[in-house]
Amino acid sequence: DETKKTTYIVHMAKSEMPEEFEHPSHWYDSSLKSVSDSSEMLYAYNNAIHGFSAQLTADEAKSLKNQPGILAVLPELKYELH
């Protein structure tokens, strides 16, 4: 299903953030909006990674991966208790 959205974790290169953005979260938001009008950010990360997580279609994820400043777009993984 091409419209099915799943969660991706998007890693971004903070050093490549355009000067027009005052805060990384604005840059993350702009990057997300550039590939999807409907997707909302689940989290914007400040310390663990530079980037965010969001629900995207496979095509949106592929498109995002080609945007400048994007290091990786990784599908969400499920962990379990030990």
Binding site: T6, T7, I9, H11, A13, K14, S15, L42, Y43, Y45, N46, N47, A48, I49, H50, S53, Q55, L71, A72, L74, E76, L77, K78, Y79, E80, L81, H82
Partner: protein, 653 residues
């Protein structure tokens, strides 16, 4: 926990550990299923003000008010955005959209890591004693990331993100995923950021043992913890109609079985399923089970669920037999009906009787709690094993700690079995897993952090590893419950944690962020892969020769090529003096002459604190060995007072 403080010699050496004021400055973050704040383990009696560095919060939500936090439980947050995005809105009639622990696992790990002392704690009368966490004066912050549907990486990353911002000092994560490269593993990535802030990250090794290559959480900036037994048992004897008795274990409490022998049936002969021996739900035939004790094989479905299924079919009791996967490992459970778990050997003997006697009979005698069981510790069969499948050059797990039949705090929202039909409520529960061993090490790391605030996470881990023990007093290697034979560094890493010795390790193998960046270069990570892990632009120096063998790790994993390649591998290490001036001499041992090991220099003299001295270990394969051959050894530096030990694992691949 009611036994591990004695087992780890914490109680008798309490004076050596930091006072409550120093320990109270350490905050341990626990990523898990949340917390049951009403547990007595989170009472804050005697604790001073919350550390001024603390920036965390106590969040409100379903069944949880921010007022439930106190001087012990200083933070409680929950992260469900990823979970809800994947599986839809949380059904708040089934689980609390808040830090509230509806499962029990998070309360167990949090109280193990740093629970306050609670007198006369027990689980239905079993394992009675004073329960306390390893760092009983440390502060706890709970980060709920695991829900009924699992733990999602976007939520885990968000929790680590906050924990770093909140200023925790130690992070305990008893969870894991598959075996991903570090740049694709959210736990490894988040842990890197935490490590960089001076936070020690301790993770469970996984419960996929005894299979080789079954470890998770193997990034070298993570402390990876396997599980061992305590010297405590909960015997429940299986007495057969032929007069033979077999020892098993049980935490059953309830109406006893009738004194007389009862009819006994193998589940495979009372089932409508080809895998009837497993006592799966709906497979037992009530007419063949009613009024009898049923033998079920361990595996596939949860152990306590097998008992529930036997009970539902009208059975009076259960004998649960281990198979080859678990060997002689006896994990006790609070079954809903009289039941005993027996090892594989006993199980086989009992089955032989069942199949040979036309009218087999049996009963079970419950003996309560027994201490002083030897040998102990023994490596748990379930504890995940090396070699390290992601980076064979790093020996994992790092060490083992108590993880079998551990008593700790429990959620008031669920019974001790976790089954929906279990209406019993307990303040403490006894459960097993590397989930239980991980918070032991996290708590002990917090104690070391309080004693040595200036030590890096790597120095703390080094102290825990180089002072761990891998032999019993008689010199024999720690046993493996899966085989009954001596275990190896691929099972226990550096050995079993010894926190008293770890307080004064003499020397440590320290590591900085730059060392880990060099390590990523040695793995040929691209600049963007390094940036994903380490959040910075970093280009490996094309002129520099990077090698995993140069990472200053406190253990040695050596890989020779079975079909050629070099027969000489050198590892470089640097020791830092954290004790008094002294001269350390090296000693080496190996279980096979196929590898010659030498160290240069063989003596290291330290005249001041924090002085660093390098050395090189040369491993020479004297003869070519077949693929999958392993040789083990031990390297030790000693000044006569301290012993700084490292395990060696050599493999041919």
């Amino acid at each position: 926990t009611t036994r591990t403080p004695e087992f780890l010699r914490l109680d008798k050496n309490a004076a050596l550990f930091p006072a409550s004021s120093a320990a109270g400055a350490v905050v341990i973050g626990v990523l898990d299923t949340g917390v049951w704040p009403e547990s007595k383990s989170f009472a804050d009696t005697g604790l001073g003000p919350v550390p001024s560095t603390w920036k965390g919060e106590c969040e409100s939500g379903t069944n949880f008010s921010s007022k439930l936090c106190n001087g012990k439980l200083i933070g409680a947050r929950y992260f469900a955005n990823g979970y809800e995005a994947a599986l839809g809105p949380i059904d708040e009639s089934k689980e609390s959209k808040s830090p509230r622990d509806d499962d029990g696992h998070g309360t167990h790990t949090a109280s193990t890591v740093g629970g306050s002392a609670v007198e006369k704690a027990s689980m239905l009368g079993y394992a009675e004693g004073t329960a306390r966490g390893m760092a009983s004066f440390a502060r706890i912050a709970a980060y709920k990331v695991c829900w009924l549907g699992g733990c999602f990486s976007s939520d885990i990353l968000a929790a680590i993100d906050k924990a770093v911002e909140d200023n925790v000092n130690v992070l305990s994560m008893s969870l894991g995923g598959g075996m991903s490269d570090y740049n694709r593993d959210s736990v490894a990535i988040g842990a890197f950021a935490a490590m960089e802030k001076g936070i020690l990250i301790s993770c469970s090794a996984g419960n996929a043992g005894p299979s080789a290559f079954s470890l998770s959480n193997v990034a070298p900036w993570i402390t990876t913890v396997g599980a061992g037994t305590l010297d405590r048992d909960f015997p429940a004897y299986v007495s057969l109609g032929n007069g033979q008795n077999y020892s098993g274990v049980s935490l059953f409490r309830g109406a006893p079985l009738p004194g007389s022998l009862l009819p006994f049936v193998h589940a495979a002969n009372a089932s409508n399923s080809s895998s009837g021996n497993l006592c799966m739900m709906g497979t037992l035939i009530p007419e063949k089970v009613k009024g009898k004790i049923v033998l079920c094989d361990r595996g596939v479905n949860p152990r306590v669920q097998k008992g529930e299924n036997v009970k539902a079919a009208g059975g009076l009791g259960m004998v649960l037999a281990n198979t080859a996967a678990n060997g002689e490992e006896l994990v006790a459970d609070a079954h809903l009906l009289p039941a005993s778990t027996v090892g594989q050997k006993s199980g086989d003997a009992i089955k032989k009787y069942l199949f040979s006697d036309p009218n087999p009979t049996v009963t079970i005698f419950f003996e309560g709690t027994k201490l002083g069981i030897q040998p102990s510790p023994v490596v748990a069969a379930f504890s995940s094993r090396g070699p390290n499948s992601i980076t064979p050059g790093i020996l994992k797990p790092d060490l083992i700690a108590p993880g079998v039949n551990v008593l700790a705090g429990w959620s008031g929202g669920v019974g001790p079995t976790g089954l929906a039909d279990d209406t019993r409520r307990v303040e403490f529960n006894i459960i097993s897993g590397t989930s239980m061993s991980c918070p032991h090490v996290s708590g002990l790391a917090a104690l070391l952090k309080a004693a040595h605030p200036d030590w890096s996470p790597a120095a703390i881990r080094s102290a825990l590893m180089t002072t761990a023990y891998s032999t019993y007093p008689n010199g024999q290697n720690l046993q493996d419950l899966a085989t009954g034979k001596p275990s190896t560094p691929f099972d226990y890493g550096a050995g079993h944690v010894d926190p008293v010795a770890a307080l004064d390790p003499g020397l440590v193998y320290d590591l900085t962020v730059n060392d880990y960046l060099d390590f990523l270069c040695a793995l040929n990570y691209t600049p963007s892969e390094i940036s994903s892990v380490a959040r910075r632009s970093f280009t490996c120096d094309a002129k520099k020769k990077y090698s995993v063998t140069d990472l200053n790790y406190p253990s040695f994993a050596v890989s020779f090529d079975a079909v050629g390649g070099s027969n000489v591998i050198k590892h470089t290490r640097t020791l830092t003096n954290v004790g008094a001036p002294g001269t350390y001499k090296v000693s080496l041992s190996s279980d096979n002459p196929a590898v010659k090991i030498s160290v240069e220099p063989a003596t290291l003299s330290f005249t001041q604190t924090n002085e660093k001295k390098p050395f090189v270990v040369t491993f020479t394969a004297v003869s070519t060995m077949p693929s999958n051959t392993n040789v083990f050894g031990h390297l030790e530096w000693s000044d006569g007072k301290h012993v700084v030990g490292s395990p060696i694992g050599v493999s041919w691949t």
